[in-house]
């Protein structure tokens, strides 16, 4: 099964520089699992109390002012934000938390480099648009909640019939999401090239291999 369309409510987060510590605080990085982080997404903003690994949303004091605690955004699939989303710590847990909450795409004017890479390993599409287009989307979403259609085939983001914005993303990276490909499996096809490189490298730079 291939994933060609991401469709759902867009939650607006009108803020720059949202770092991965805000997406998921350090406390929850103590988990040794790859799943189960959805309840801790944006923990510091989403709840009024301090949580611990193992607590669930229904045990927490909810911050009703926070957008993901308000209808219809509890079921949002797309996050709309501004500059430099996912800067800071390399924690892939940030992407796992977005995924586990139910997000499938993040639309922003720019992303932290490491976060951007991590997205493609976990079926989350980072869509980078110009600041002008991001402002247009905020204008629409601020008037009334909107569902976005993001086509992974035509690389287009559509809001109803009013607005269509095309975006760029490397086809190989996009294929990872469309076909849910695993990087290790792909690279293992180049095993022979790695072996040849390594053998030459070992001869030329022996101190690395000591």
């Amino acid at each position: 099964m291939s994933k060609e369309l991401i469709q759902g409510i867009a939650a607006p987060f009108d803020r720059d520089n949202i770092d991965t510590d805000q997406i998921i605080p350090t406390e929850y990085l103590k988990s040794i699992k790859k799943f189960g982080f959805g309840d801790y997404l944006f923990d510091g903003w989403r709840y009024l109390d301090k949580g611990y690994l193992g607590m669930t949303s229904d045990q927490r004091e909810i911050n009703t002012d926070f957008i993901l605690n308000q209808a219809p955004y509890q079921g949002a699939k797309i996050l709309l934000t501004r500059d430099n989303f996912g800067c800071g710590s390399s924690r892939e847990h940030a992407v796992w938390a977005l995924r586990d909450f139910g997000f499938e795409a993040v639309v922003a004017s720019s992303f932290g480099d490491i976060f951007f890479n991590n997205c493609f390993k976990n079926q989350i599409l980072p869509v980078q648009l110009s600041k002008e287009n991001i402002s247009k989307l905020f204008d629409l979403v601020n008037k009334s909640s909107q569902s976005f259609d993001i086509s992974l085939v035509s690389k287009e983001l559509r809001v109803g019939s009013d607005l269509s914005i095309s975006f760029e993303v490397d086809d190989n990276l996009l294929d990872r999401i469309i076909y849910n490909l695993d990087d290790v499996d792909i690279t293992m096809k180049d095993k022979a090239s790695i072996e040849i490189f390594e053998s030459n490298h070992r001869n030329q730079r022996p101190w690395i291999f000591k």
Partner: protein, 466 residues
């Protein structure tokens, strides 16, 4: 064709290009710690794979470890059950896959970015990765070093390669010599203030200029460490005699081996005519000590300057600005001088090396921590740094002044162990991130140099180091 240092390192490790923006790059050194590796080892097990090249990998627990361990402490002694599981999981994985680990009982254990270089596992010209964004630190040795996510940790374990896109080149020239009391930390914070936390995004930043030429390896590591805070996952510095002297002392290579390697290492600099996509020159002679006031490392000011007001901020950033001021409890505060501090933290992969401890000790010698400071802690970056400091009597200077002298680890930089701020406590910290909640839920972090943090401990507020 001229090439930058980054271009040379890239080409040196290029295994394969594809019909896309990505290439396959060979990885020489892979550092691992307990937080970002468990899921990667699980992935190996699931796919029934073994690490591609065992001796590429070096592991140590650093994020979760308590800093009040003393003697005969084991992983089992950790009070926090989830932290204990994570540290034990690293033990288990390293034993099962036969990966070299400096475990919690090892005298060399430390913050991975402090421990690796001093044990000679970081050598010039290497590609180095770790599931930690501050891996950029190792760029100080003319390495191509970067932080990666856990899926990439698994990928490197399994294939010894990383599949990545090439970055653009950016050059930052630091010219001149700083005034007394101004350090590498102030210089890099000033840069982040100038270019912003996204200023280096998509770029590898090469640091050069007359300041860098004479800077120590410790200072160079501090600067490359915080490249990521300027948005650049790669920061790097050309190899010179200062690099070689440091490496000769740590690498364990015999004379012949060292000479052979040095012939190559001496080529690790950008060509004279190399072209950079972005360039910036900063005169460091005029800089004052820098302190952050807000919740992003770019929210930095001269220690004696006024905290910005709404009229200084562009419309696009006003919302972020107001939130930061409110979080930091600074809505009605004009300057940082006179502000009451509760805690002081000297440590982290940015500023816990011997030079940092010496400079902090030099300003507090014979003085006492202010009564208004609840707790001031010094956390050496590694077992070797701690031993060296004790040999020099620095521990006595700190303890006599009223500081707590702790065992190595990441500690209060991110508060994953018991060293955490309480809500609304204000901390003078030598770490790298002043994000909301970074040092503890609702805690307030001000980043600064070891000198400024030590001085804050003594006076209880931000003071003039001159």
């Amino acid at each position: 064709m001229t090439a930058t240092l980054y271009d040379k390192l890239w080409d040196e490790h290029l295994v394969q290009t594809y019909d896309s923006s990505e290439s396959l790059i060979y990885i020489d050194r892979h550092y691992l710690h307990e937080v970002t590796s468990p899921q990667a080892f699980e992935g190996l097990r699931y796919k029934n794979l073994l690490p591609w090249r065992l001796n590429a990998n070096v592991a140590t627990p650093d994020h979760n470890v308590p800093t009040t361990r003393g003697d005969s402490f084991t992983a089992d002694s950790i009070d926090d059950e989830v932290s204990k599981i994570q540290v034990m999981e690293l033990d288990k994985n390293c034993n099962e896959f036969k990966i070299l680990q400096f475990d919690i009982e090892s005298k060399e254990q430390g913050i991975v970015h402090v421990m690796g270089p001093e044990l000679g596992y970081t050598l010039p010209g290497m590609t180095i990765v770790c599931g930690d964004s501050h891996t950029s630190t190792h760029g100080a040795f003319g390495c191509l070093a970067m932080g990666i996510g856990t899926s990439e940790v698994e990928h490197v374990l399994a294939t010894q390669c990383l599949k990545i896109s090439k970055l653009k080149n950016m050059q930052v020239l630091f010219e001149g010599q700083p005034q007394n009391g101004v350090t590498s930390k102030d210089i890099v914070l000033h840069l982040i203030k100038m270019i912003g936390t996204a200023g280096g995004t998509g770029h590898a930043i090469e640091f050069s200029g007359s300041y860098i030429d004479s800077a120590s390896m410790e200072s160079r590591m501090t600067i490359c460490n915080m490249a990521i805070e300027a948005g650049a996952k790669v920061g790097l510095i050309a190899v010179d005699q200062i690099t070689l002297d440091y490496v000769q002392a740590c690498s364990g290579l015999n004379e012949e081996g060292f000479e052979e390697a040095s012939n190559f290492w001496n080529t690790l600099h950008s060509d004279n005519e190399a072209i950079f996509d972005k360039q910036i020159t900063i005169d460091v002679a005029s800089l004052k000590p820098q302190v952050t006031w807000g919740t992003s490392p770019e929210m930095t000011i001269d220690f004696d300057a006024n905290i910005p007001t709404e009229s200084d901020i562009s419309k696009d950033h006003i919302e972020n600005f107001k939130l930061a001021k409110a979080y930091m409890g600074l809505e009605n505060t004009k300057t940082l001088q006179g502000l009451h501090f509760d805690r002081v933290f000297i440590g982290s992969c940015t500023n816990s090396r011997i030079e940092d401890l010496r400079s902090a000790a030099s300003v507090i010698k014979g003085q006492k921590v202010s009564r208004t400071i609840t707790e001031a802690i010094v956390v050496p970056g590694s077992g070797l740094v701690k031993m060296q400091a004790e040999k020099e009597g620095l521990d006595k200077i700190f303890e006599d002044a009223g500081f707590l002298w702790r065992d190595p680890g990441c500690s209060m930089c991110l508060g994953m162990n018991p060293d955490q701020l309480k809500p609304y406590e204000r901390c003078a910290s030598t770490s790298n991130r002043n994000f909301e909640g970074r040092q503890g839920n609702l805690g307030r972090t001000h980043l600064m140099s070891p000198i400024m943090a030590a001085l804050t401990a003594i006076t209880g507020t931000i003071s003039d180091p001159s």
